[in-house]
Amino acid sequence: MKIPRVNFYRKKVRKVKSSKFLIAMGIILLLGFSFYFVSSKMMDKIYANALSADQNLLNAAGISSFSALSKEDIQRRIDDQIARYSTLLNSKSRVLSYMKDTLEGVNDFHYTFYSVQNVFEKFKSQISLATLEYSTASSTPIEMVQFGLEDSSVPLEEKSYFEKLGYKVQLVENAGSKWYKTKSEKIYLFRREK
């Protein structure tokens, strides 16, 4: 049964002992930090777990599915691993480039050599090849080849032959010899003075 209860004074604040207040604050802070650390770890684990689809990448970066590493550490390791992959790809790509250049250079060389051989067939005993100076892209390790010399008395025919093959040919007078200079490769043909 409810009998009347009146209260003429409303206390505005309730006080606690300072020691209890400090303990309470300590507990609140402890709980706050604990929550932060636990949730942070949990997030890191969820993050690591979410990344586990690319297991090879994670393994290469030294990250297990439920890693003890922080999210930042995981990200840093992945970035480093991707950078390593990138470097490796660059170097492989460069090698492929070399190989391509080499193959292309060899092809060009063979074509040039074939052309020169044809000239020799056509102008037998009239000219001889003094020097075949063959230059390609700097990355291609092609060496120069030298041939023996033969006579030739039809420089214009030789010139027009090379031009037909797509070379730009220039007649060079040099110490009693006539030289034909082509566009990219230099084929020096020596004509003996009669």
Partner: protein
């Protein structure tokens, strides 16, 4: 709440002749009496109802504080002197209870021609009929509350969590079955005797007689007995008037409980009240409660009120979040 704010409840009864204190501790559902103490004034602190020596009360409160080891976390329930409280019955149009409190204050301020800042009004209300509320209002001057709290402050005791009305201080430990039906409680203060009329727990009215316990001690036993015979007669007349005033003249009074501010005078009153024929049961206060009679009962009762209102994790606001009066 208890973990942070402590679970000790102190009841302080600042009386006319002494200060009593009881400290209770709530342990789960159990209540443990930690300590109790009574400090009687060495010199007269009141002349009639007028406080003449604040220092005497502060001194007694200081002893209580030391004995009970009161600290800032304890929930303190105490009661304002009854003569400082004005009781007024009002009838208001039906409205939510929180609005009724403001309406009652507005009406009282108008009637007394006083500034609203100068008084505090507490109400108990119930629906009288479809269109009106029956309101019991208790009016106290803010200045009196400050002075009362000043007594506690002087003794280094924190301000109270609950500041009750002095004539209610005994009520919280009365046996539940005695509250049923029509109940009168007569409380003999220093120079007045307050008579409370309840019907099924609802406070119908409070009235008073200008006759109290002051100076009775100095009389011989026969005169003391005659004082209580006379007081009983006057109380009986007053109860008849009250019943008549509230249209309850034909109703039978179930219980009459009587209390004196001076505990030892209760035995004289027990003898003097034999002629009281208004009620079916006439019970001295110490028999109306289920408590060790050696405890300071008013202080214990106040502490129990503190427990009942604070131990359920409730804050001290009387209004709940729904705006209903608890």
């Amino acid at each position: 709440m208890g973990l942070l704010f402590g679970n000790c409840y102190v009841g302080l009864d600042i009386g006319r002749y002494k200060v009593e204190g009881v400290k209770l501790k709530k342990k789960g559902k159990n209540l443990e009496i930690v300590s109790s103490f009574v400090s009687t004034y060495k010199n007269k602190a009141f002349d009639g109802e007028a406080l003449i020596d604040e220092g005497e009360i502060a001194l007694a409160l200081g002893k209580i504080k030391a004995a009970l080891k009161i600290d800032i976390e304890d929930h303190i329930t105490t009661a304002l002197f009854p003569d400082r409280i004005l009781f007024r019955k009002l009838e208001l149009p039906a409205m939510p209870k929180d609005q009724a409190a403001n309406a009652a204050k507005f009406q009282i301020v108008k009637e007394l021609s006083i500034s609203p800042e100068e008084i505090t009004v507490e109400i108990e209300s119930r629906q009288k009929n479809v269109s009106s509320l029956e309101v019991s209002s208790f009016i106290v001057k803010v200045e009196d509350i400050s002075k009362f709290n000043g007594l506690l402050f002087k003794a280094g005791i924190p301000f109270p969590d609950i500041l009750d009305a002095g004539y209610f201080k005994f009520n919280y430990i009365i046996k539940e079955e005695l509250l049923k039906g029509i109940l009168f409680i007569a409380f003999e203060d220093i120079s007045s005797t307050y008579v409370e009329l309840f019907k099924d727990g609802w406070l119908v009215s409070i009235d008073s007689l200008s006759d109290g316990s002051e100076g009775v001690d100095e009389l011989d036993e026969e005169s003391i007995l005659s004082h209580y015979v006379e007081l009983t007669d006057r109380v009986q007349n007053l109860t008849r008037m009250m019943l008549s005033r509230y249209s309850m003249a034909d109703e039978v009074v179930d219980t009459f409980i009587f209390i004196s501010e001076k505990k030892k005078n209760l035995d004289f009153w027990k003898k003097g009240i034999l002629k009281f024929d208004m009620a079916k049961r006439i019970i001295p206060y110490d028999e109306a409660v289920n408590v060790n009679k050696n405890l300071p009962l008013a202080a214990y009762s106040l502490a129990i009120r503190g427990v009942s209102e604070n131990s359920k994790g409730k804050l001290l606001q009387k209004k709940s979040s729904k705006g209903k009066i608890i």
